[in-house]
């Protein structure tokens, strides 16, 4: 399809939509969370009821709506009313009351169990009000398996704009102007990364989407890939156009079969409409994407390891330089970005870099998706402007600590990150502030812990993770993490002495400074940050060393 044909196609879809008029739309959240609490049976019984009652309504399965803890969720449009924790028995009375009698079922409204006056329009609830959804915007609204839905919501307009109204340099400068930074964790300015790949001249370049979301406690990439795969695909295509690549790979975790399936569906649909392949929309630009399935190795989130894995090898990182921008996949210049980064590209091209750069803080522009979990009431997926305080996230959006307990710490950045204690609840969350507290933004996992959490054990847990996930190539990471884990275990079993604690601190610094790749050099972070903020928990658990000579000399 060329440009004109696609426009005609969209026009036809718009007409179809207009014909439907004000027909009720019932959106059923089919995110991983809701699916496991019974969304599928719920959808089936909704279908049956509508058929049986001859109700004029359409049922749309969508990606993650956000408040996973309240699932399964169903949204009624128009009106934007979300009902929570539905069971199949609730379906008939709900349809009857909401659609036919036009009276909402208050006790089943979203957050009805925790708020006095649950909002009828979900966007008015504090949970959504405090958020700014850019990457997640259409997630939980459109049907991720239908390209038409995406096209109707201005989908692929950014690609169209770039291909016909912008030179690759313009796209890069727009991204640079947006001040977008890599959402995978390190926060490297995306525009600069693109520019450096753009500058390496080569007839073959690659674009890679890093969807190997290995951090325990993070499910942003999963939700994005499952909820709005076309947005990611469009971001990749834009990146490919900007840097001059013709081939892309989406590396998705094997643990996310649904994400893989939906992404593959999206690729097929896009190819069919000429949005991927040769001469995209009739232009000179060729680009195609292949999915590569990860096989369960956290280290493959590291870019050189990920490249090795796509090449069919073990995910062993290699020393940098040369950076992938210069010599990446099969030695060719390669651009690697995280899923969430690609999700932000299309809105930036559509609305301009300046628009994006005005959101957030001075050094960190835009919004960040967090996966809120742990001992918190409203666990789920949220997106807030950079610079939102931790307190707002935990109390206003998250609804406070589960069971009314006391907040102790929030863990960000997974096994590469650290803990933020209570006294820093008012920290504005952006890249630099979190680093200053000894944590990192990371990919966006945010685990809330209450008084019952044992911080030494938390450090041990993450060290065990890094120990298991270390690829075993370099000495500091292979032996250092094992040694640190054993020492932490010793402390947890109340067997350690002060010398062990000293050894542990020395090893932490050593592993951080000498490891080959990011996994090793960030592995001591949870340990260092808990040592920094909760040192007394360690001190209380180590014995003094053996008695020295009894004569003071």
């Amino acid at each position: 399809m060329n440009r004109q044909e696609l426009n005609n196609f969209i026009e036809k879809e718009k007409e179809k939509l207009a014909e439907k008029g004000s027909k009720a739309q019932i959106r059923v959240c089919c995110g991983a969370g809701c699916l496991s609490s019974g969304a599928e049976e719920l959808m089936n019984s909704l279908k049956e009821e509508i058929k049986a009652g001859n109700i004029d309504a359409e049922i749309i399965p969508t990606g993650c709506m956000g408040p996973c803890n309240q699932g399964p969720l169903v949204k009624f449009d128009p009106g934007n009313t979300i009902y929570q924790k539905l069971e199949t028995g609730d379906v008939a009375p709900l349809l009857n009351s909401h659609l036919l009698e036009k009276t909402p079922v208050t006790e089943k409204l979203l957050f009805a169990d925790s708020r006095e006056n649950p909002s009828l329009n979900a966007d008015e609830d504090p949970y959504f009000k405090k958020q700014l959804r850019i990457a997640l915007k259409d997630c939980g609204h459109l049907d991720p398996e239908k390209i038409e839905d995406y096209l109707l919501l201005n989908g692929y307009q950014a690609l169209d704009k770039a291909l016909f109204a912008m030179a690759p340099e313009d796209v890069i400068s727009e991204i640079k102007q947006s001040r977008l930074r890599g959402r995978g964790g390190a926060g490297y300015p995306t525009g600069l990364k693109w520019e450096s790949v753009y500058r390496y001249v080569n007839d073959q370049k690659y674009v890679i989407c890093n969807g190997d979301e290995g951090d325990p406690g993070a499910f942003m990439d999963r939700s994005l890939l499952e909820g709005n795969p076309h947005r990611i695909l469009e971001g990749m295509a834009l990146a490919a156009y900007a840097i001059g690549a013709s081939k892309g790979f989406a590396y998705i975790r094997g643990e996310y079969p649904l994400a893989i399936k939906r992404f593959e569906t999206a690729i097929k649909q896009a190819r069919k409409l000429g949005l991927l392949g040769k001469n995209i929309l009739g232009s000179e630009f060729h680009f195609d994407v292949e999915v590569r399935i990860g096989a369960g190795a956290f280290v493959c989130g590291e870019e050189t390891a990920l490249i090795a894995s796509i090449e069919g090898k073990k995910g062993n990182p290699r020393p940098r330089p040369p950076y992938p921008a210069e010599a990446g996949l099969w030695g060719k210049p390669t651009l690697i970005n995280n899923v969430e980064t690609y999700a932000a590209i299309a809105p930036i091209i559509n609305n301009g870099g300046e628009w994006y750069s005005e959101i957030g803080t001075a050094k960190s522009a835009g919004t960040k998706v967090f996966a809120l979990a742990g001992k918190i009431n409203n666990a789920g997926l949220i997106e807030v402007p950079m610079g939102t305080t931790l307190r707002e996230v935990v109390y206003d959006i998250g609804g406070g600590i589960q069971g009314g307990g006391k907040f102790k710490a929030a863990q960000t950045g997974g096994p590469s990150g650290g803990c933020i204690p209570e006294e820093h609840l008012d920290v504005k969350m952006d890249y630099e502030s979190l680093v200053n507290l000894g944590s990192i933004m990371g990919s966006g996992g945010l685990i809330v812990m209450d008084e019952s959490s044992d911080m030494v054990d938390v450090a041990r847990y993450f060290m065990e993770f890094c120990m298991d996930e270390s690829c075993g190539k370099c000495v500091p990471c292979r032996v250092g993490t094992k040694m640190m884990h054993d020492l932490l275990q010793k402390i947890c079993q109340d067997n350690a002495t002060r010398i062990d604690l000293e050894r542990l601190e020395e090893l932490a610094e050593y592993v951080k400074e000498t490891s080959l790749c990011g996994l090793g050099s960030s592995a001591p972070n949870p340990l260092l940050s808990t040592l920094r903020h909760f040192r007394e928990e360690y001190e209380n658990r180590v014995r003094e060393t053996s008695p020295k000579h009894n004569v003071v000399d």
């Binding site: 330089p321 996930e469 075993g472 370099c474 000495v475 993490t481 050894r503 000498t514």
Partner: protein, 235 residues
Amino acid sequence: MNIIEININGNAIKADAGQTILEVCRQNDIEILTMCHMDGISDVGACRLCLVQIEGSNKLMPACTTKVMPNMAITTTNERIKKYQKITTELLHAERNHTCAVCVANGHCELQDMTAKLEITHIRYPHLFPDCDMDTSHPWYIMDHNRCIMCTRCVRVCKEVEGAHNWDVMGRGHEVRIISDYHTPWGESETCTSCGKCLHACPVGAIWPKAISQGQLVKNPGMINDLVEKRKMNL
């Protein structure tokens, strides 16, 4: 040749732009400790003993894989680097079951030499005592995983010089082990040519011929590079 000027430990030094820091240092008699590096085979930067400090970068860089750049200012040794080299060596000792007193390589062991050079008198970390096998299935050689330090020199020699690719590394993390073929006993390997190059490449006493005992293993790692050079000459 593109000659550039760099600075190592305060001295101006001329170098070829394509060279690694290690090559330049060796040419100029500046000592850099190495373990996983071996002349004649590719570098992997895994042992982290050759780390050097480069001005303007807060990360330590491995000398074996980092190429020199114009006006690079390099410090090859200081307190920080020495401290880390010591810890690396200690960790290598603690990782597997090294017992010098009963080792065939006693007196001819690169790990032992390194330990002496760094004046390490004892290992401050608890030994891990992993459960390691010893493969005696090969008619001539023995592979003792207890003494292996995972430098992967045998793997690279077998793959790059002999071309057999009998060896590789299985597993990950602290559970990595050198394997031959499909983890088949060495003696039953379909790919091994029994050339013995891995034996000369091994810096410690992990691979050795059956006919010797404690302290008798003498190796000739230089022969690997000689071989590579001779092949280049295509004689």
